[in-house]
Amino acid sequence: MSSDTVLVVGGGPGGLRAAQGIADVGHDVVLIEKLDHLGGSPITQRYSGLTPHGELAQPQIQRLIDPVTSSPHAEVRLGTEVVGVAGEPGAFTVTLRGASGTSDETVECGAIIIATGFSHFDPGRSTQMYGYFEFPDVITQPDLEAMLSDHRVLRPSNGQPPERICFVQCVGSRDRQIGNEYCSKVCCAVASKEATELRQLLPDSKVLIFYIDMRMYGYWENEIYWPAQEEHHVQYVKGLITEVLPKGDRLLVRGEDTTMGRPMEVLMDLVVLSVGMEASPGTRELARLAGVKQNKFGFIEAVGAPLDPVSTDRAGIYACGAALGPADLEDTVSSAAGAAMKAVGFLRSRRVAAH
């Protein structure tokens, strides 16, 4: 490694696309990933189909992994994390820690891209009474993704296929009390996608989505939302659920049917919480180590936004994907390519300056 190398921290879709971008223009890149595999949340959490087109996560993400692992310019280090960042823009000294038992290693790089992604909101902290840690049949979107990957969606309480399933949107997002005031962007599309998959897997099921607004940007409207309603008969009810309690062997969910203007209680077999995105511990830690500014939600602050969505407040350090804030796959690969360009541009400008 040298000051001509870019260090990309995080081996998810963002990090992979950034590394690919850097390698594509002939620069050396080292990709650091804390876990023992690449792919980020879609692979670690075993997502099923990914928005927008529902293509299965595994093969789709593989198409991001292969160009990196096969490039002579890219070096991938799994099971490695950053424990220290020192030095100057253009000549950073980064301390890496590998498997336990091995000693730390110090490496040089000219630029850093933070691609440490997000965490799902912990539903135990929701303002509303969902009882995630009390009731087995209250699950989250990522829990459901794993079930869909297995093509087996069963009620955790009794192993039976659910007949009545509902989604609760905005869990952990758009909430002043928690402090996550932002919208997590993807959960409406993901819920609709999962609802569609459920209707196909369990044709006798009734699937409802309880929402505040349906965030269906651009082509999501006609590619995701309309088919969910029109072809798969997913039912959308405007009114958020506030309580989940056990009734018999089912769950009673309470909300207001705002369209009809009256309180509503319905029984469900499975309740899926559409949990939002938060800055991951990795993002927070790396921000601290690298001394870059975070916004008030803990994500990396893109100081030049909106025209420059990837620069941090430190020269030579960039960020991409969900480390910056809620992002879907399209956002992530876009900002990753942008960050790669920025990083390479930075290195070349220093090379020119040095001469």
């Binding site: 303002t127 509303q128 505040i212 009114g239 659920i241 207001e256």
Partner: protein, 244 residues
């Protein structure tokens, strides 16, 4: 008027007439003034942010189940500053709230129950019809709390006061004095108050009601009660040599 004459136009004016609505319609200026009092309350800005109509407040609200009542509509009307709707709500809806504050689950941090509390204070202070109607039969309790520092005293459980609570309540009434003397805590051997309140405490309480304007709030709602309480408190304070 002949039988075949046309029925009166069922227009806005009809529905807003006092005998139909149950309260008088007032000029817009008055409605604006009432809203300004609500908005000017020290707590208002903390009780109302924005509302994205998620319906969580209605879902949690006990009154919404039994009345045509909606904390969401209260927050929405206040946010829109719709003085006509707010006037209607202050006259029709606000007394249905149970003041349970289940609506504090609002993800925007609104407090519809709190907005209603402010609206009620404005209704009381201005002697609005809804306040007078809501507090019919309640003056005894206001008198009790303001003059004795406790409310719902033992002697309120009269023989026929709460027939729907069951015959045990009548038993209490029949044995009140005896049963009160049979209570171990020595402060509770009382019948006209919940516990025996020190005289000095009452003096302090009267000063509080008068200094904070709480007593004067009821002047428009129940003038007779106000006069009685004012005389009582002024006299007592005078005995202590205190100038309110």
């Amino acid at each position: 008027m002949s039988v075949t004459a046309a029925s009166p136009a069922l227009n806005d004016a009809h529905y807003k007439a006092w005998n139909v609505a149950g309260y008088p319609d007032v000029p817009t200026d008055t409605k604006v003034q009432l809203f300004d009092q609500i908005k000017g309350d020290i707590r208002f800005a903390d009780y109302l942010h924005g509302c994205y109509e998620c319906g969580i407040c209605v879902a949690a609200c006990p009154s919404a189940r039994f009345y045509d009542f909606s904390p969401r509509r209260i927050a929405q009307a206040a946010a829109r500053e719709d003085v006509d709707l707010i006037y209607q709500q202050i006259q029709e809806d606000i007394w249905e709230c149970s003041q349970c504050f289940s609506c504090l689950r609002c993800p925007r941090g609104n407090n519809p129950g709190g907005i209603i509390t402010i609206m009620r204070e404005v209704a009381v202070r201005n002697g609005l019809a809804s306040a007078k109607e809501a507090l019919v039969g309640y003056s005894r309790i206001i008198y009790k709390i303001m003059s004795t520092g406790t409310q719902v005293s033992p002697d309120m459980l009269g023989r026929d006061s709460f027939p729907d609570w069951g015959p045990e309540t009548a038993d209490v009434a029949d044995n009140l004095d005896l049963w009160r003397r049979a209570l171990p805590p020595e402060t509770m051997h009382t019948t006209s108050t919940g516990w025996s309140v020190a005289e000095s405490t009452l003096v302090e309480l009267y000063l509080i009601w008068m200094e904070t304007g709480a007593l004067d709030m009821i002047a428009e709602v129940d003038r007779g009660l106000h006069t009685i309480l004012l005389e009582l408190m002024e006299e007592r304070l005078e005995e202590e040599g205190i100038e309110p």
